[in-house]
Each structure stands twice: as C-alpha cells, then as structure tokens.
C-alpha cells in the first residue's frame, strides 16, 4: 500500500506542476474574501484591529490547509463516465483523491508558511504566541479539520450517483459553513443562536477550532470538548461515507458504468 501511495503521490505531484498557473489563480480567490471581511471587522472594532489581522490571516492559512474540492471532481468524473476507469483498477478510487489532497496541502504549506514568516517580521500583529504543546494541538486540530472537510466533500461528491445538482447541494452546505466555521466573523462575534449551532456542527472544527487553539481562546476543558466533538463527527462522516459508497456502487452497477 505504501508503494501505491508513493506512486500516486508522485503522479499527483507532476500533475500539479502542470496546473501551476491555474492553482495560483484559485488561491487568489481564497485570499480576497477573508481579507475583505477583515477590513469590515477592522472598521467595526478599530481597537481590535491587530487581533483581526491575525485571525483572518489564520483563516486564510487554515482554510487552505483544510480545503477539499473532491465534490466537484467526483461530480465531473461520475457524470462524464471517467469514474468507471478508476473502478476497473484494483485500487479503491478514494486513494486517488486522498493523494491529490495531500499534494496540494503540501503545496499550500510550502507557499503560505514562508509568506507568513516574512509578513510576521513586518507586522508584529501576525506573530503567534504559542507554547510547544499549543503548536502540537494546533497541528492536530488542522489535520482533523482537513479530514472532516475531505470526508464531507467526498461524501457529497458520491451523491452524484443519484442527482445531477450535487454542486448546488454542496453550495448550500458551504454557505452554512461560511457562518458556522468562523469565516464571516470570529465565532464569539456571532449572535448567540448561531454560536450554539456552531458548537455542535462539524464546521467549527474545520476552521475556527484550530485558530482558537492558536490564539489561546480554547483551552483546558474547552479543548477536550472540542476534540471530542470533532472526533465524533469524524466517526459519523466515515460511517456516512462507507454507507454512501456501498449504496453508490449498487446504483452504479444497476444503471451506470
């Protein structure tokens, strides 16, 4: 299996190089929205500008490190029939998606970490103040967030076996995620009703939770609870994925191919 992953990662790496320019364009899109939102908040509470700068830069970073576009890939592959090509090979198609995710996250890290380091030397607001254990927990939370987003994305992608408007369904989920994951506003700025929802739904653990760890907003009991809920969602999504996969295979073998 390791050898298979090495081969897949190598291939995805070369493929990624062919898409350098396109990836760059997509990245700029992921940057402008948080920045605009940052300006809004700096306008609302000018006295907290520094913490907003850190927060939204962190949003950009964590969002890129957890991003998953498998829903669109799967939708296209299933609709165009190229998914069958993957089914014919003796390797579960999900590994291809996982390999692609790993390569691109590596790429984003390689770009964003140096940028952050350089930016932090000019703007003290960007300098993180984290203990070693905080850094560890932060990284764990990021990995967990990436897994959650991937599972959600892939599961929605599998819906393409049944419906044609998968992108629309995911669009709705993504919009909800905008609010509840902390991308429109740091969660403590939200009206209490939304804050309630954000605690129990998985979106917070995709973006906000790692940032809360980094800023020290979440610690002790809050920390443990957060990880527990996130882990719970991970189990649930893995279960959903397995069920969707089996059902999808049955549907595909009945009508598709």
């Amino acid at each position: 299996m390791i050898r298979k992953y090495i081969a897949l990662l190598r291939m995805k790496y070369i493929e990624m190089l062919a898409y350098r320019l396109a990836t760059f364009v997509w990245m700029t899109g992921a940057i402008t929205q948080p920045l605009i939102t940052m300006f809004v908040w700096m306008n609302i509470h000018p006295e907290e500008s520094d913490s907003f700068v850190f927060y939204f830069m962190a949003v950009i970073f964590v969002e890129r490190m957890t991003s998953a576009w498998d829903v669109w890939e799967l939708d296209r592959e299933i609709r165009e029939g190229t998914f069958s090509n993957l089914l014919l090979r003796p390797l579960h198609p999900i590994h291809w998606a996982i390999a692609e995710n790993i390569i691109y996250k590596w790429l984003f890290a390689v770009i964003l970490v140096p940028v952050w380091v350089v930016a932090a030397t000019f703007w003290p607001a960007l300098r993180p103040h984290m203990t070693a254990s905080q850094i560890m927990l932060f990284l764990m939370a990021v990995v967990l967030g990436a897994a959650l987003r991937f599972l959600l994305s892939y599961s929605c992608g599998l819906l393409a076996f049944w419906m044609t408007k998968v992108a629309a369904v995911y669009g709705v989920i993504d919009v909800i995620s905008l609010f509840l994951s902390g991308r429109i506003a740091p969660l403590e700025m939200l009206p209490p009703a939304l804050r309630e929802w954000s605690e129990w739904l998985p979106f917070r653990y995709m973006i906000s939770f790692p940032i809360e760890i980094a800023t020290g907003a979440a610690d002790g009991g809050e920390l443990a609870r957060g990880f527990a809920i996130a882990a719970g969602w991970m189990m649930a999504l893995i279960g959903a994925l397995q069920w969707l996969w089996k059902a999808g295979m049955r549907k595909n073998q009945a009508v598709g191919g």
Partner: protein, 264 residues
C-alpha cells in the same frame, strides 16, 4: 455601429437563449430558490456585521442595504450576459473556431460578449432591486426625481465600466489559454465592491478607488439614489466609463491582430 441592427441581433440572441432555457423548465424552480437563498445569505451577513455596530465606513444599515442591492443587481447583469460567454470564448480561441465568428457580418466583440444569455439570472437583478427598495425603506428616504435620474445614469456608467473590465479580462484569454476560468479573478476583484469604499484603508483603498475602480462601480450609484451625488462625480464616472470602454476595444482589436497573425 448601426444601433438598430445591433438591437435586432441582440433580440435574436435573447430569443434563442430563452427558447433554449425554457426547454429546461424544471431547472427554473431550482434556480429561483438558489437566487433567493443567495440574497438571504447576503442579508444575513450584513445583519451579523450590524449586530456589532451601527455604522460601516460611515454608512448606516439602510445605506449598506441599498449598496448590497446595487451590487446584487449589477452582479445579476454580469451573470445574465457576460459570464456565460467567457468559457465559450476560451473554447473558441483554443479550438480555433473563433475564425468562424470572425467571418460573420457582426462585430466580433459584440457577438462574443452577448451570444449566450442565462435568463434566470434576471431574478438576481429583480431581487437586487427589491433589496434597494428595502434599504430605502429602512433608511426612510424617498429619492427625488433628480436622484433617480442620476442613479440610472450612474448605473449605466457602471455597466459600461463592468463590461469594459470584463472584456479586457476575456481578451487576455488569447494569450493565457491554459486557465479554464478567468472569471474567478473578476469575481474576487468585484467582491471588494460589496462594501462601502470608505471602509478600506491605505493602499488598498487607493487601488480600488482609482486604479481598478471597483468602489466607483457600486458606491456611486448607491450614493446617488440616497441623494448624495454631485454633477462633478457623475461626469467623472461617465468619463471613466468611456475611457475604459475605449481601452477595452483597443485591446480587443490588438488581440485579434495577434490571433489572425499567428493563426493564419
């Protein structure tokens, strides 16, 4: 340019695409819901901001709503007429089928911009207008006749400006054939226009006000409707729009020369 003739051609595009879209009537319902959902989310976002404050860049809640309505209306027009044509232009350039269009007795820039229209996006335009109305209501402001007139003039200027910027972006596809969707860049840029320009600070504010006038596009018509316009500003907006329109046309011509020269 023979305006009557182009009016007729545009009507034909309109009719052809309408018929095409009516084929998929069940889609209509879904699109309707999607548009409503979109505007609801935008309103919720503004609401969340105003939960914490009562002024954004100096603008009140009602004023920001009017701005949002203007933004939505303009974006509806973009999605209706401009966006559907971008990937098609890329295809034409990549496949060389642009030659087919160049031999038609219609101005190529016009054809490439308006051939395909997506009707249900007009719902966004309608919803935008609705939000403008709502904002005016919240603000308790009734625009005067002059306000409304200036509003329309400035909206026209904004549409021309949007068209020019969009066209220039589309034209770059002659050289940058690898990227599938350049419209992404425009979206990111245009997104800055969602909010009052006075909100931004420093270098950013300078750029989006004077270099790539995103702020001009949405803020000026909104302010006009709220009674805050000046003749100078209106004339300046028109002048800028004309300037960019001229620039985009030159760029298109340049690109065509490059294309026909290289392709042969």
């Amino acid at each position: 340019m023979n305006m009557r003739r182009y009016g007729r051609v545009f009507r034909e595009f309109f009719r052809a695409c309408l018929v095409e879209e009516l084929e998929y009537r069940s889609e209509f319902f879904g699109n309707f819901i999607a548009s409503f959902f979109g505007i609801a989310i935008a309103l919720l976002t503004v609401h969340i901001f105003f939960y914490q404050t009562d002024r954004l860049g100096g603008w009140t809640y009602g004023e920001v709503l009017v701005l949002l309505g203007v933004f939505n209306t303009l974006r509806g027009w973009i999605d209706f007429a401009l966006r559907p044509n971008m990937p098609r232009l890329l295809e034409h350039v990549r496949r060389g089928t642009l030659d087919y269009i160049l031999t038609k007795p219609v101005d190529s820039m016009f054809y490439v911009s308006f051939r395909h229209l997506v009707f249900w996006r007009l719902i966004d335009v309608a919803l935008g207008i609705g939000v403008i109305g709502y904002g005016l209501y919240v603000e308790r402001y009734v625009p005067s006749a002059a306000d409304v007139l200036m509003f329309f003039v400035l909206m026209t200027a904004s549409l021309l400006l949007i068209y020019s910027l969009w066209m220039m972006l589309m034209t770059t596809s002659f050289w940058v054939v690898r990227i599938d969707d350049l419209s992404f860049i425009f979206d990111s840029f245009f997104d800055t226009a969602r909010f009052p320009g006075s909100m931004y600070r420093g270098a950013v504010r300078f750029v989006i006000t004077y270099v790539l006038p995103a702020v001009l596009i949405t803020n000026t018509p909104a302010l006009a409707l709220l009674g805050k316009w000046s003749m100078v500003a209106v004339l300046a907006a028109l002048a800028v729009a004309m300037l960019f329109l001229w620039a985009s046309r030159r760029f298109w011509r340049f690109a065509l020369r490059f294309y026909t020269g290289a392709g042969g």
